[in-house]
Amino acid sequence: MSGFRLHEMSVGYPARRARPAHRVLEDLTATAEAGELTVLIGPNGAGKSTLLRTLTGLQPPLGGGATLDGTDIATLSAAKLARRLAVVLTERDMPPLLTAREVAGLGRYQHTGLTGRLSEADADAVTWALDAVGALHLADRQAVELSDGERQRVLIARALAQEPSAIVLDEPTAFLDVTSRVTVMGLLRRLAVERALAVIVSTHDLELALRIADRVWLVTPDRRLHSGTPEELTLDGSISAVFDGVDLAFDPVAGVFTPRTRTGGTVRVTADGLRRALVERALTRHGWRPVTSDEADLTVTADEDGYLTEYGGRALRFTGLAALTAWSRTHSPTPPEPAVPAPEEPAPAKLDPAALEAAGSEAVGAEGVGTEGVGAGGLLS
């Protein structure tokens, strides 16, 4: 039994004097397998950090428990747990006058003797860890001078140097630019597969998470945890139920969030591939709904000189897309009624996870064919 198993675990803060116990999340049952990247997502303040702090032994569970490789975490001493589980916290203050190698070397704490001197084997493990995260060239740089992304890689190297069987990371991609975010998540997935590690990551980057995760733990506002593959949770509507708002809606096919606009007028765009997509995107932002039929309120035709539009029987010419966009903003027809904040298309029939499990993985594929959710699945392969 490798990896994490949560068993009816409740997390939160115990009762104190007059205050009753505050249960942040209740009755959590989920798994995070070795060799897989498990991503923890949920709204702000839903209790992701509390769950991770409990998993890493920084605070005790209020009920139930979790096992790591078959051993109850609560029964392990801090030292024994540190040999199995490494943690990357949100704290990123680096001490001055330590090199990246020295920071990574701190991960050898449980492997060194009383003086903390690194043996050759320890030094090799540190070098390997730095190499694995692509930070070997940073080894002799001062840790405080590294960029956020480099720093994060060094902290992951420190976790790897512990030689754990599982790594838990709290928001490792926060404050990183887009490329670093993708790099860090890709790195974590590769480490999970190559080193057979159970990797649990919390993140706000939902789109990236659904693309790259093997398994998703979704914290819901009703203090529960839904666990499944990204496709399962997308198909059964859990993702939309948690994240869809008045202004944003999750597009399950593209796997991205799109602004939910009050579509008033329809527009038909005639242009070549990319140009058409961009014009449609720009107009969608201002409340127009692209259609292909001839009976559109507005028609836009792109040619060499710009954009020829027809609206209400009048023809207008715009030299650039910016001018067209500016015009479309002021001329968007008011919607007939306020848009209802609900998914436009009916959610596909709910899949019974138990039935899926019984039927095996092929059934998921078969079930998925014909539904739009398969598009999201295709992105992964």
Binding site: A78, L98, L118, D140
Partner: protein, 356 residues
Amino acid sequence: MTVTRSARPAAVRRRTGVLAGLAALTAVAFVLAVMIGSTPLPLGSVLAALARDADQATETIVWTVRLPRAVTAALAGAALAVAGVQMQTLFRNPLSEPYILGVSSGASLGVALVVTGWGGGSAGAFTAGVAGLGRVGVVLAASAGAAAVLLLVLALARRVRSVVTLLVIGVMVGSAAVSVITLMLVYTEPRLAQQYIAWGLGSFAGTTWADLAVLGPVCVGALALALAWMKPLNALLLGENYARTMGVHVRRTRTVTLLVASVLAGAVTAFCGPIAFLGLAVPHVTRLLLGTADHRVLMPGVLLLGACVALLCCVATQAPGSGAVLPLNAITTLLGTPVVIAVLLRSRAARMGLAV
């Protein structure tokens, strides 16, 4: 690309070189401290006196005045500097040290309670009158006072993250302790109050061999414990939560470190008075010299530089020509003030953590 397996050889060479240099410098400073005093002695007669081979007067000066003073200075400097490093890492605050955070004042309060309570005190330093078991009692009281202040400041420090706020809190706690002492002194004999003021200026010269029989083992023991307990301090550089996830027993580490720092600061304060800024300046200078915050290298370096600087301060208190002795704290404060200002200016940029 050729990448060495451990730290760069150049960095290792530098650290070894600096440590060797500090050891040599400390030895030189020790000899200087024995040579220079109200009557300067040439190196030859000092060596002769050490070998019990000089005239009676020189032997008396060297053995009853200079040697105890030099040994006290070396011990006190090493003790305060090591306590400074421990507190800076524990508080994750570059301005932590026994004097600034009021720990020395707490120790003074403990001492004042014992001394005025027994009405003792004959001549010389404040605590000179206390003999025999009383010396141990004074050390215990001073350590307890230091520990009380440290616990209080640590509890407050966990609520504030700002370097400057903690500094102000330390100054306030220290002032409160001094005020309590002042109130106590009102009800004691004026002679004792005067001795307290003289003692408060700090001096390495008031200790006898009998005092050193207590101060020596206490300091050496606490320093040994500090050196043996430095591995968790390295893990604490990343913060308490990281240390905990690496399997460090954080509460035990905090307790032991606080205890050692209290005993170091308390014992030194009991015999030498509150010594300013040594515990602050020495760790920062050592970090810059060694180029690392790794306690395995830093601790020995701090220990050596602390002893060295205290010995040199001791030499500097001998005003040239006049034969007068300058107050020790005047010298150490002049030394420490620029370091405090530099740290404050730099820590604004670094926001928090161990600046410099």
